[in-house]
């Protein structure tokens, strides 16, 4: 009798744990993901040389703390016919961060600064890799356009480019002229 009770108890425990596990998975699958990631573009027009901040947010929707999350930024050029990923080496000082711990319900807000190097149409997305999850979670692609701007101004470059060689020639000519005059003055009379 006692053995039967124990067997029933064990069965109940197994069924309960199976139900709990399936329930959690359903909750996770029902929401789509345990983590939610979003990225927001800065307001206003962007032009070359600007350093705007894209606001990223990672929220833990699950019941457990998320640990060891890797969050990174991806930039793609959306120029028609020339779409390609962009190496962030010169664009962003912070390409990726690691979040040690994100508690249930907590959100990590972070500014992703970027230096806009070249004009054109681009898209940027934030990706979160949770070591416990088989798939990374990616935010919506945020499209933006960078207006061209001539960073090298002819009004500043040309005076230097034209003036400096002339100045060197004039200085050298002046020095040669001065030296030749000094030489003639020092030369004794009658020697021609």
């Amino acid at each position: 009798m006692k053995v039967l009770r124990l067997k029933r108890l064990a069965l109940i425990i197994v069924l309960a744990s199976a139900w709990l596990t399936s329930g959690a998975m359903a909750a996770s699958a029902g929401n789509g993901q345990v983590l939610r990631v979003s990225l927001q573009a800065p307001a206003g027009a962007l032009k070359m040389g600007d350093t705007p901040n894209f606001l990223g947010a990672v929220t833990n929707l699950g019941p457990q703390p998320a640990q060891g999350l890797v969050v990174y930024l991806s930039l793609v050029s959306l120029a028609p016919g020339n779409e390609h990923p962009v190496d962030l080496e010169d664009w962003s000082a912070q390409k990726a961060v690691r979040l040690d711990r994100l508690n249930p319900g907590a959100t990590d807000f972070r500014n992703w600064g970027m230096r806009l190097i070249a004009a054109g149409k681009y898209g940027v997305a934030l990706t979160v890799v949770d070591p416990r999850e088989p798939r990374p979670i990616v935010s919506d692609l945020v499209p933006f356009e960078i207006q061209p701007k001539a960073t090298l101004v002819a009004g500043r470059v040309l005076p230097v480019a034209i003036g400096e060689p002339l100045l060197v020639v004039l200085l050298w000519g002046g020095m040669v002229f001065y030296n030749s005059r000094c030489y003639h003055k020092q030369k004794p009379e009658g020697l021609g």
Binding site: A93, R115, T151, V153, V160, A161, W172
Partner: protein
């Protein structure tokens, strides 16, 4: 006056009073002007980020400095030998390493002049951008070490070889060899062999330092290894120059 100082003064006079030195200065400013005009006249290049333009300009200045150092170094002893003026120079109360030091001072002084002439160009292309001051500082550091390496090596060869043409050919080949990995572009230099070549190459170390400081805004700690590579080369070359000039032959 100290004979060493007299020789340094003579080198200085050759740079500023003789036509040869002045022609060098005019040519270098013309090269920098041509490059600056190219940057503003080309639509694509004029859209470059200021830091990128400063880096390109700094690279041209380093290359010019290395080229002039090789030419001046080649002329140092072999040119005097060709002009048959080395023998009277050897009669001066100064030993071979002292002569070499005076010649090297002349080359360094030319580099200093080139550096001062280059500052307005760097300002013109980069004053509205980032890291201009750091660019000028590191250009001076890297440029001085590169001039010591290439000028010192050309002088050492010049002390051992008989003709100016021979030393110049060898010096320019040496410069081309050191510069060739840089011409390969960043993608080929990403491989293990490419990185090793980059690390062992003082010219690449100088350009990578400028890239790191100007474009990537990285601090001194990132530059220590590259600076150490350049300093090591400079020390080895100076030792070689000392050994090569201990017994100078007319």
């Amino acid at each position: 006056m100290n004979p060493g100082l007299i020789l340094v003064k003579r080198e200085f006079q050759e740079d500023f009073k003789a036509s040869r030195g002045a022609v060098f200065l005019v040519i270098t400013t013309l090269v920098l002007s041509a490059f600056a005009v190219l940057l503003v006249s080309n639509t694509e290049l004029s859209l470059l980020d200021n830091a990128q333009a400063v880096y390109m300009m700094a690279g041209i200045i380093i290359a010019l400095a290395a080229l002039v150092a090789v030419i001046r170094g080649s002329d140092g002893f072999a040119g005097e030998r060709d002009r048959q003026t080395l023998e009277p120079l050897l009669l001066a109360p100064i030993n071979g390493p002292g002569l070499a030091a005076a010649k090297l001072c002349g080359i360094l002084f030319f580099w200093l002049t080139l550096f001062i002439l280059a500052i307005p160009y760097l300002w013109a292309v980069g004053s509205t951008g980032q890291n201009l001051f750091a660019a000028i500082l590191y250009l001076f550091l890297a440029g001085t070490l590169i001039v010591l390496v290439f000028g010192g090596a050309a002088l050492a060869l010049s002390a051992r070889m008989k003709t100016f043409k021979g030393v110049l050919s060898l010096g320019l080949t040496m410069l081309l060899l050191w510069g060739s990995p840089v011409l390969l572009g960043p993608s080929l230099r990403q491989s293990a062999v490419g990185r090793l070549l980059d690390l062992a190459n003082p010219f690449a170390a100088a350009l990578n330092t400028l890239d790191s400081v100007i474009i990537d805004s990285q601090g001194l700690s990132w530059q220590l290894l590259r600076l150490a590579v350049m300093v090591s080369y400079a020390v080895i070359i100076l030792w070689w120059l000392y050994a090569a000039t201990r017994r100078l032959e007319p």
